[in-house]
């Protein structure tokens, strides 16, 4: 049941972003083309995080485990079990859905700071497990999917994931699907309930909502989207390593979302893109680039606490979803 049809300007804006990214495929220089493919997948990760953090108001510090569940679910099943790439993608997504259901059932017994700590601890367990099972995961070195595996047929259709254009377009396809899926989700009656829980959970309960069930659904949706990003990342770039399960990959989506604008549909992409280039540019000038990144983040939080798109929405464009 949709609350209302998508207003034209919202549809135009989101379709326009996708169209622009499609056009960039043909004009971008090689380096930026590769960066953007990566950024699109990472911003899918951020969009998943945004469902839980931005819309539902639950701050998780363990989302690396969902990204890594997709990464390993896809990578390991292709690498060890010889599954096809599409089957690997499905396996990665399924792993994320299963893990987020289990984690949600346990972690949602807590709220606030305890929820942050519990999710972080579970993510640490996941991270350490990737070393414990280093025989299969390769630990820090990770596993590399060979070029032969990543060239395959879907029916009669030949796909070569080592080709930059194919990679870019597949990343864009996943990005577009998740972008519109989140847009529809947050504008649906379900999305409205998530916002109500974020704003005042007790009140939402007194309107007849099972807030636990709705929060669990948000965790599963969020975790599954993040796992989709992870699975696609492993398959498109042919690598799965434990770095992606580390704590920095739990913090990064939080920063991307804060930067771009929590509870905005396009904020995660803008935040991921912005931060990727800030790190990229500063690191070419100095080895102390994280210092500059840190200062930039502090300034942004001080002067634009709602993030880039959140500030634009608050000041100029209240219609932004």
């Amino acid at each position: 049941m949709r609350s209302s049809a998508l207003p034209p300007r919202i549809l135009v804006l989101h379709a326009g972003v996708v169209a622009l990214l499609f056009a960039l495929n043909f004009v971008l220089p090689e380096y930026h083309h590769a960066v953007l493919a990566r950024v699109m997948l990472l911003s899918v990760f951020a969009m998943g995080y945004n469902i839980l953090f931005g819309y539902t108001g639950l701050l998780s510090l363990g989302h690396a485990m969902f990204f890594a569940a997709g990464l390993y679910g896809a990578g390991l099943s292709v690498y060890h079990l010889g599954w096809s790439i599409p089957a690997g993608l499905a396996a990665g997504i399924a792993c994320g859905a299963a893990l987020s259901t289990a984690i949600g059932l346990l972690a949602l017994r807590t709220t606030g700071v305890a929820f942050m700590i519990v999710t972080m601890m579970f993510a640490q367990v996941f991270y350490l497990l990737t070393f414990y099972f280093a025989e299969w995961t390769g630990g820090d070195d990770g596993i590399v999917l060979s070029q032969e595996i990543r060239r395959f047929f879907v029916g009669d259709f030949y796909l070569n994931l080592t080709d930059p254009t194919t990679r870019y377009l597949l990343a864009l396809a996943i990005f577009a699907i998740v972008l519109f899926a989140t847009l529809i989700a947050v504008r649906s009656s379900f999305g409205r309930v998530l916002v109500a829980i974020r704003e005042n959970e007790d009140r939402a309960r007194m309107l007849g909502y099972d807030t636990f069930a709705n929060k669990l659904a948000a965790v599963v949706l969020s975790g599954t989207i993040c796992a989709t990003a992870g699975a696609a990342y492993a398959l498109l770039f042919g690598y799965a390593g434990s770095t992606f399960a580390g704590v920095q990959y739990s913090i990064l989506p939080l920063l991307w979302v804060l930067l771009g604008g929590a509870a905005t549909t396009l904020g995660p992409f803008i935040g991921t893109l912005f931060m990727y280039y800030v790190i990229d540019i500063t690191s070419s000038y100095t080895s102390a680039y994280l210092l500059i990144v840190g200062i930039a983040l502090i300034l942004l939080v001080l002067f634009f606490p709602k993030g880039i798109l959140g500030t634009i929405r608050a000041r100029w464009a209240g219609w932004l979803p």
Partner: protein, 243 residues
């Protein structure tokens, strides 16, 4: 007629303080009942037990023939018990429209309201006179309008029992007049349980009045009986000067 709501020996103790102390209460379908009593008498705690925000220490609650003593709050709401908060707790960052959409979409899923969502929302907003403010952020509404929005949210739940906790607190006299008309209107389709300090409102609206004091029911009866009751005079009407 079987009562819509009954409680037997309902008790809530906080570290030895019995905020609600063995209350036997019964409410008939279609009634407008007021609960009055001095501050700290246990009125809000009592209705919180009924709507499930607070778990009871002992006793039973029966709603429409079903024991709901241990039922989670959100399921009681789905059975038709709506509670409007004493402290206005609309969602300030959502529009008035979205505030009402939340309860309205819920009852649509229940199948208790067969109208479409937009119609259900606008009907609740029109009922409370807020239709022309539908797109204003709830936090930007005046206090009186926020109180009305709170009632609109209760109405959109299509309740069978609407619990209003001090609905006229902080309203102007003219707003109170409009409000009383609204409550009478609501009472044609729902049973109303009203906690109220303003005695004019109570005497005007309530068909029966329950007086609480120190967690217990002190007296119960028609408005004129309550006005004449000596114990009530001592505990409440004579000594306290509310509203």
């Amino acid at each position: 007629m079987t009562p819509l709501l009954t409680t037997r020996g309902l008790t809530k103790a906080y570290d030895g303080l019995r905020a609600v102390d063995g209350v036997d209460f019964s409410l008939a379908t279609g009634e407008i009942r007021a609960i009055i009593g001095p501050n700290g008498a246990g009125k809000t705690t009592f209705v919180s037990l009924v709507c499930g925000r607070v778990p009871p220490t002992s006793g039973t609650i029966v709603f429409d023939g079903e024991d709901i003593t241990h039922m989670p709050a959100h399921l009681r709401v789905r059975r038709g018990i709506a509670y409007t908060f004493q402290i206005t707790s609309v969602f300030p960052n959502l529009s008035a429209y979205d505030n009402v959409a939340l309860p309205a979409q819920r009852t649509l899923e229940d199948g208790r309201a067969k109208t479409h969502l937009h119609a259900a929302i606008m009907s609740a907003l029109e009922h409370t006179g807020l239709a022309d403010r539908a797109n204003i952020q709830a936090g930007a509404l005046s206090y009186g309008h926020q109180r009305l929005l709170e009632v609109a949210m209760g109405l959109a739940l299509k309740p069978r029992l609407l619990i209003l906790d001090e609905p006229t607190q902080g309203l102007s006299d003219s707003e109170i007049d409009g409000f009383m008309g609204l409550v009478r209107d609501i009472a044609s389709s729902a049973t109303v349980l009203l906690i109220e300090h303003n005695m004019d409102v109570v005497m005007e609206l309530a068909r029966r009045i329950t007086v609480m004091n120190a967690g217990k029911i002190l007296a119960e009866g028609m408005p004129e009986e309550i006005r004449a009751d000596e114990a009530v005079q001592r505990a409440y009407l004579g000594t306290e000067n509310h509203g």
